[in-house]
């Protein structure tokens, strides 16, 4: 455990040093990156060695304020969650070396680095906390630190609003968590996590639902996701990678942890999680389909992936409930592996989006186009990320989704509700995967192919090397997991070691399947390489003529003769219009020689609309009626206090 604390200390020291070195911009950046990298390597080393060795569980306890104990335990699940926590942030910070280039904003960048360090340092504490006090403490530190990260461009009102929305959801979620903890404490009289299972079964369901809402608001569960698009587009581009890729996973960790602690007396837990996962996944991918801003689209795609992870967890819980060890094992393992993979390719994609924004000043795919030629590295790594997130071989996403499918198919021979749910999960996974492919072909096609739609995009150049190398590294991790999945799957299996009801399952037979998958994908990749070489060979010594993209034989093609995001998605959006209401504005063509015609598609997030209709407006009209209380007269305010004190004295003493 000490190693983790040392690495946290190093990271925090880097962040604090950044505050003091803000006047020396480059030095500050290097120290921050160096400290985080050093600390993260130490942390990764700890997590990997303990995860793969079958050693004793590491623990640590500190007394706090004389009354409370802060205790931390790193069991196998915690250790597995430590991997993305220590892997992604240093890479994101290296990316920030050339992303933060404006040395006039040095103080702001320093503060940003400080809170990034706090955020990174709090996450290992969240996953290792083993009583409610330490968990709540680290959870709050994490939430508050990330709130300050979103406020980087605090002068921009849009972004400030995004920050406030995020804060409302984060603190609202924390309130539900505290309610759950309070219920547990009331039943057990202990803050320790190990006492949770001793509470009576009747209270467990309520605790679980409260915790699911609390953790779900962090993870982006439908309908608690509405902060995600605005928050992820407001933060500087290397941070959504950390926030979506790693911090949102803390919500998943919480759901898994509270499930394991409660020791699930009924099958309701699994069913609820599975249905939540299905809803989150489908809504996420459909919303992603209609968005035209890359970062917002990626935010919704995070929601979709959270859905997939929850489906995995749900299948695991169903399996545990049915006593079907294989189903439980592969469900949980798939969820864990997908969570790791998602943190890799989602941060890759956000970094790609950040690179595009830095070069072109926009993130709207309706304005981009033809970037593959101008930004080859960004384009190719983004392609890798897109393929991986769509769950296609030979990349990472395929392996983890395969595990979840495998787990779900193990559930087909059970009966009743579980059977139906397993089938339903398989179908929704297929729907989500298909639509995700559509979403990312849309992004890839419109952003990187075709021709540039604006001047600014035309002049875009490739980003600086530090950003390129990080993206290349993440893309190769994606490819490597896809080609040689065995060690990663093995690590995910090791993560399940301390879940009692699956630890005895022997997955040797599955590893041979993995071996076959690996060989096939290798063959596939070799085939592609061979075809590329063949093509090069055949084109040798031939004259190659270059022409404009989408020229299509027109004598004067313009960039407006291209597919747009709206037109590409139109058919699919039509199919799902019962999920997401779409308004289309079409000016129509009336004359023989038509004037300028416009067509505009706009979609709303149903959850957001309903919040406004059912929650914000009634609340506001109620609150507005009480406005007279706030009149600005300080003497009367003090009188309020006195009246309150007198009432308390009279009635409660």
């Amino acid at each position: 455990m000490d190693t983790v604390f040392v690495s946290i200390f190093i990271i925090l020291a880097g962040g604090t040093a950044a505050l003091f070195l803000s006047s020396r911009f480059v030095l500050m950046q290097r120290i921050m990156v160096g400290a985080t990298t050093l600390g993260s390597i130490a942390g990764l080393h700890f997590a990997l060695t303990h995860l793969l060795d079958d050693g004793p569980v590491a623990t640590a306890t500190f007394a706090w304020l004389h009354i409370f104990d802060l205790s931390f335990t790193a069991d196998s699940i915690s250790l597995f969650f430590l991997l993305p926590i220590f892997l992604i942030p240093p890479l994101a910070l290296i990316y920030s070396l050339h992303y933060f280039t404006d040395s006039k904003k040095n103080l702001r960048v320093a503060v940003n680095y400080f809170f990034t360090a706090v955020l990174i340092a709090s996450m290992p504490l969240v996953v290792t906390a083993s009583n409610m006090i330490s968990f709540a403490l680290s959870w709050e530190i994490m939430s508050i630190a990330s709130f300050f990260l979103v406020l980087f461009d605090y002068q921009n009102e849009e972004k400030r609003k995004a920050g406030y929305l995020y804060l409302i959801f984060v603190q609202g979620g924390a309130m539900f968590l505290f309610a759950a903890f309070a219920l547990i404490y009331r039943h057990t009289g202990s803050f320790d996590f190990s006492a949770v299972s001793s509470m009576p079964d009747s209270g467990k369901l309520l605790v679980f639902i409260l915790a699911l809402i609390g953790f779900g608001s962090k993870a982006g569960l439908f309908p608690l996701h509405i902060w995600m698009p605005s928050t992820y587009s407001a933060a500087p581009s290397h941070l959504p990678g950390i926030m979506s890729g790693v911090m949102a996973k803390m919500g998943i960790y919480g759901i898994l942890r509270i499930y394991l602690l409660l020791d699930a007396p009924t099958s309701v837990f699994g069913n609820v999680v599975l249905i939540c996962g299905i809803l989150t996944g489908i809504f996420g991918v459909v919303y992603a389909l209609v968005r035209q801003n890359i970062k917002e689209l990626l935010a919704y795609s995070s929601m979709e992936n959270i859905g997939i992870i929850l489906i995995g967890l749900g299948i695991g819980m169903l399996g545990a409930d049915e006593g079907n060890q294989a189903m439980a094992f592969f469900g949980f393992a798939g969820a864990l592996l997908h969570l790791f993979n998602h943190s890799v390719f989602k941060s890759l994609l956000f970094m790609g989006a950040g690179a595009i924004e830095q070069q072109t000043g926009t993130n709207s795919i309706e304005d981009l186009g033809g970037l593959l030629k101008k930004m080859p590295v960004t384009g190719k790594t983004f392609l890798v990320g897109s393929t991986a997130i769509s769950g296609l071989p030979p990349f990472a996403g395929f392996i983890s989704e395969f595990l979840i499918y495998y787990g779900a198919f193990q559930g087909v021979d059970t009966h009743r509700l579980s059977f139906l749910l397993a089938i339903f999960a398989i179908i929704s996974l297929a729907v989500i995967g298909g639509l995700a492919t559509a979403v990312f072909t849309k992004v890839m096609g419109l952003t990187f192919l075709g021709a540039a739609r604006t001047k600014k995009v035309e002049q875009a150049k490739e980003v600086k090397p530090s950003m390129q190398w990080v993206m290349i590294l993440l893309a190769s991790v994606c490819l490597f997991i896809g080609l040689v999945p065995a060690p990663f799957i093995h690590t995910a299996f090791a993560g399940l070691r301390d879940i009692s009801f699956v630890s005895s399952y022997n997955a040797q037979s599955f590893l041979t399947v993995v071996q076959q998958i690996s060989e096939t994908t290798m063959l596939f990749v070799l085939l592609i390489l061979a075809l590329v070489m063949l093509r090069q060979f055949l084109y040798l010594n031939k004259r190659i003529r270059w022409a404009g993209t989408w020229g299509c034989g027109f004598t004067k093609p313009t960039v407006r003769m291209q597919y747009t995001g709206a037109s590409y998605a139109d058919d699919m959006v039509n199919f799902f219009k019962w999920l997401t209401p779409v308004t289309r504005l079409y000016s129509g063509i009336t004359q023989i020689f038509p004037r300028r015609a416009t067509w505009h598609m706009q979609s709303e997030d149903t959850a957001l609309m309903n919040y406004e209709r059912a929650l914000v407006r009634p609340l506001y009209s109620l609150v507005y009626k009480l406005r007279w209380i706030q009149h600005g007269n300080i003497q009367l305010y003090i009188s309020y206090i006195i009246v309150a004190v007198i009432i308390l004295l009279v009635f409660f003493l």
Partner: protein, 234 residues
């Protein structure tokens, strides 16, 4: 020794009544200085009474600090602030001076009732007078806050409340210096508040042409165009 304590308590009560009835700011600050010194002496007499004259170095240090802050630093800051804004009287109090003095008498009665009713069991009649003085000072401080408009009188109200809290702490705690940590914290808060108030007073004075806190409510948020909802809606 008990006689001395009671004499000091009586003086405190007198100073409370005087401060409620005084209309000149300079005399008000003088009364508060007097009250501060008396109040910080009270625990010392209690200490003598309980430990028969044996006081530790820590106690001496903390009581000295109290005395210096309450008797010298705070009055000094207040006089400085007063000199800066050139204000002599509290004009137009919300509740008049005679009525305030009368209210002060009422507070004494009320405190006697509260002390008798609620704290009889805890205190065994030992420090009942102390408790009465504490509650009276506390409520008189609150009363000053409500009934006066000038920012400087508000600060003095807080100061008097702090004196009350200090006495209340002395009543309920055994007299050792570790028990005074909370009171000391409150005192430091007040000290800082007074220092800041000196600056704020000056600014209010130059912005609003007077140091009436009533003018400050033009800063509040009732304007419907600027409400939270509209800001969230954008």
């Amino acid at each position: 020794m008990i006689q001395l304590t009671n004499t000091l308590l009586a003086l405190t009560l007198l100073s409370v009544l005087l401060s409620l009835g005084s209309d000149r700011l300079v005399s008000l600050i003088k009364i508060m200085t007097f009250q501060g010194i008396i109040v910080s002496l009270i625990p010392l007499t209690l200490l003598f009474q309980e430990h028969h004259g044996e006081i530790g170095a820590g106690n001496v240090l903390i009581f000295q600090a109290m005395l210096i802050i309450k008797g010298i630093l705070i009055p000094w800051f207040l006089f400085m602030a007063l000199k800066k804004v050139k204000m002599r009287r509290e004009i137009e109090p919300i509740i008049g001076y005679h009525a305030s003095t009368f209210a002060g008498l009422f507070f004494i009665l009320m405190s006697t009732f509260i002390a008798d009713r609620f704290f009889q069991i805890i205190l065994n009649n030992e420090h009942v007078l102390l408790l009465i003085t504490a509650i009276t000072t506390l409520s008189a401080g609150l009363f000053l806050l409500i009934s006066r408009k000038k920012a400087i009188t508000q600060v003095i109200g807080y100061l008097m409340m702090e004196n009350g809290i200090y006495l209340l702490g002395s009543t309920l705690a055994k007299q050792t210096h570790t028990q005074y940590v909370v009171e000391f914290g409150v005192l430091l808060d007040i000290l800082v508040a007074i220092m800041i108030m000196g600056i704020v007073l000056h600014n209010i004075n130059s912005t609003y042409d007077g140091m009436d806190t009533g003018d400050l409510d033009s800063l509040h948020d009732l304007d419907s165009n600027r409400s939270l909802f509209h800001r969230l809606k954008g």
